[in-house]
């Protein structure tokens, strides 16, 4: 087993030596360059069979064991390859939701196109529906065999570049707010769709706002039944909270050399305080890798509990924050001088201020840390929920 893994490691390493893009950090300082590089790199990976190791075996490039996936991700991190940000939502969120909820026809239609480079984004959040996602208002009215959709979506990662969108809409106002939701697959080229990019805190245009004005979506592009949207959305979110973190925590492990380089550059290899901070960080990263591994093993064995993914995500987001803070601290004044960011550079680029700010993506997106804590306390540990009704002083009159 270990021998086979070592062989795989050498194979991946050899393949990367021949194929890994060089100089991309310098190159990717504009959207055009970012898109160009991401598209080429994804195509190269798909050709080499390394784009979707986490997919089931019946799809090309899939069927890798967890141990194999880890080896692949570690080698990618080690070779400092670009993270697949542009196709991230496609290969994880869209694919895993389609595998779980898509009909055979929907899978045949959409999955192969992902491998050909079709880009998906996720349209869940709205201006007034963030943590309280189920309160969303984007409305879909059924007319014959189409839905007519009106509303606004916010924070859609890669939304301005995407071809398709995982769209959560309201089809009914009856009953519990979750019960009125439906899950649709939106073609962003459709009439009535406008995307406006939004600049993130460190300058990247990572997400967008989507305006939907009488957009028609065929009924055949619905995932699950009408009113089942909340359940379908859980599978999208759980892929984000658990599955991707195997890759990301392995990447964080593989990026420890960036901090080690700072320690060496500062001549602090024998500073006990720094060594302890570094040792503690390495241990926490290993613990995050271990819990991500365990989560996936349980998931594959059908033993995932509600809240397990939240533990993985919270563990990752807090550790990533510590990682970037240690880099920022060791970077000293150098880290305070503005450096242009690398578009799509990943979570650990060595541009420490940008990395630190970017780490909020994991403490806010996909359900904030506070929301994960609610889930762990109320759903996994069964602690009582907040009382539903409340009034603010002044509301009474």
């Amino acid at each position: 087993m270990t021998d086979a893994l070592e062989t795989l490691r050498q194979d991946v390493r050899r393949w990367l030596a021949a194929h890994a893009p060089q100089g991309w950090r310098e190159y990717c300082t504009s959207n055009e360059a970012f898109l160009d590089l991401q598209r080429r790199w994804f195509a190269t990976l798909a050709g080499g069979g390394y784009a979707v190791p986490h997919w089931p075996a019946e799809w090309p490039g899939g069927g890798r064991s967890l141990a194999e996936q880890k080896v692949i991700y570690e080698e990618f991190a080690r070779a400092d390859t670009p993270r697949l940000l542009l196709s991230f939502m496609s290969t994880y969120h869209a694919a895993s939701t389609l595998f779980e909820w898509g009909s055979a026809a929907q899978q045949q239609r959409y999955i192969p196109r992902i491998l050909e480079g079709e880009i998906w984004c996720q349209g869940f959040s709205e201006p007034n529906a963030g943590s309280d996602l189920a309160s969303l208002k984007t409305r879909a009215e059924r007319q014959g065999d189409v839905y007519i959709v009106n509303g606004q979506k916010l924070w859609s990662t890669m939304g301005q570049f995407a071809d398709k969108c995982l769209l959560l809409v309201r089809t009914s106002n009856e009953g519990a707010k979750q019960a009125g939701l439906t899950y649709l697959l939106l073609d962003l080229k459709a009439r009535g769709v406008t995307a406006r990019p939004i600049h993130q805190i460190h300058g990247d245009e990572e997400f967008a706002e989507l305006f939907l004005d009488n957009v028609e979506i065929p009924v055949e592009d619905r995932l699950g039944a009408e009113g089942q949207g909340w359940a379908v959305a859980q599978s999208t979110l759980s892929s984000e909270r658990g599955l991707t973190l195997l890759e990301l925590s392995a990447r964080m492990r593989g990026a420890l050399w960036r901090i080690a380089d700072l320690i060496r550059a500062g001549g602090r290899e024998n500073d006990p305080g720094i060594l302890r901070d570094f040792g503690r960080l390495a241990t926490k990263i290993d613990a995050t890798c271990a819990i991500a591994d365990q989560f996936l093993a349980n998931r594959i064995a059908g033993e995932e509990r509600v809240g397990d993914a939240s533990i993985v995500k919270l563990s990752y987001s807090r550790t990533l924050r510590e990682f970037t803070l240690l880099g920022l601290r060791l970077g000293g004044m150098d880290a305070q001088y503005h450096e242009p960011i690398t578009f799509g550079g990943g979570m650990e680029t060595g541009n420490w201020m940008a990395d630190f700010m970017n780490s909020y993506a994991w403490t806010i997106a996909g359900g904030s840390d506070e929301v994960q804590r609610n889930i762990i306390a109320e759903r996994l540990l069964n602690m009582p929920r907040e009382p539903k009704s409340w009034t603010l002083a002044g509301d009474a009159a």
Binding site: R258, G279, A282, D293, E370
Partner: protein, 328 residues
């Protein structure tokens, strides 16, 4: 013999009910021997059960969970050392006695002191004590004259100092390079055991704290309804789950280094300490009394932090190793 982790856990919980904290010392020791826990790691051809890391991990967690007193960790170190002492004619006899529960003990300290041993559990009941020197590991008879009882704040453990009588003859278990290698294995085993004990204890006190928050009412609602407290509980659960995952990952990693085991112990004891610390706070006044169980966990957690080398020492060593390995 092989059992799954869940089966092992089941058996362990039947022996030591997590609801029965700090069970009677003599009864517990009898039960530990009866359950075969002392022979668990010994190969079948030497009369043991030939169980591996999973069994050891589950056992130490169960002992930690119920705050079981007694010298189990020390005794298991002696047993490992005896198992390795192939050349010693008296080996099989000694091993049989030790596996049967005749107390033989060892130091749980993280450092050595000239002329003696510290942090030796239950030395007053022990016939022998393990002495680990630079190039020699020996099992020495215990002479009551050389013992000093050191009452710790943690009343679930009984520690002694022992002055070593250089003229006494004992059994040499390993010498030279073999002794150095065995000493490192014993150190790793001690760190793993203390980690398991800590994770078991942390799990128990976290559960008890949640139960308390669910029962105690203030402001016309259970305390567990306050988000400020729920979020602290969720953090604790997260640290604990990740630390437990690391415990199994490192325990099962054949290439694990001593520094990594040390960092595991530093991490798990820190998690235990933090959870026990929070438990007292979240219990309010009752948590600060001897009448309630919180203090038992807090004191054992703090002792576990100090035994086997402290976090500063291990984190520094782990940092040095990670630094050497982390190259682009």
């Amino acid at each position: 013999m092989s059992m799954t982790r869940a089966e092992l856990q089941d058996a362990a919980h039947k022996a030591f009910d997590p609801a029965d904290l700090v069970p009677d010392a003599a009864k517990s020791w009898g039960l530990i021997a009866e359950m075969g826990w002392l022979m668990m790691a010994v190969p079948e051809e030497l009369g043991g059960l030939g169980l591996g890391v999973e069994a050891a991990g589950v056992t130490h967690m169960a002992l930690g969970r119920a705050l079981v007193p007694g010298p189990a960790i020390a005794q298991m170190l002696v047993i490992t050392a005896l198992t390795a002492a192939d050349g010693l004619p008296e080996r099989d006899d000694l091993l049989t006695q030790a596996m049967g529960g005749a107390v033989m003990t060892a130091s749980l300290a993280g450092y050595s002191v000239a002329g003696g041993l510290t942090c030796v559990p239950d030395a007053d009941r022990a016939s022998h004590v393990l002495v680990i020197e630079d190039r020699r590991i020996a099992l020495m008879p215990v002479d009551a004259q050389t013992l000093t009882a050191r009452a710790t704040w943690d009343k679930t453990r009984r520690l002694f100092d022992i002055a070593i009588d250089a003229s006494a003859t004992g059994f040499t278990l390993a010498e030279g390079d073999a002794a150095t290698a065995l000493a490192e294995r014993l150190q790793a085993q001690r760190l793993f055991a203390l980690s398991g004990d800590s994770l078991g204890g942390a799990d128990a006190i976290l559960r008890l704290t949640i139960e308390y928050l669910e029962t105690r009412r203030q402001f016309d609602r259970p305390l567990a309804m306050f988000q400020a407290l729920k979020h602290r509980v969720a953090d604790m659960k997260t640290w604990l789950a990740a630390a437990e995952a690391l415990f199994w990952a490192r325990g099962n990693d054949p290439a694990v280094t001593l520094a990594e085991m040390g960092a595991l112990k530093a991490h798990t004891t820190t998690v235990y300490r933090t959870i026990a610390e929070e438990a007292v706070q979240l219990h309010g006044g009752i948590g600060l009394t001897m009448e309630h169980h919180c203090h038992l966990f807090l004191k054992r957690a703090l002792l576990n932090c100090a035994l086997g080398g402290d976090a500063d020492q291990w984190e520094e060593m782990a940092g040095r190793q990670a630094l050497a390995q982390a190259t682009a």
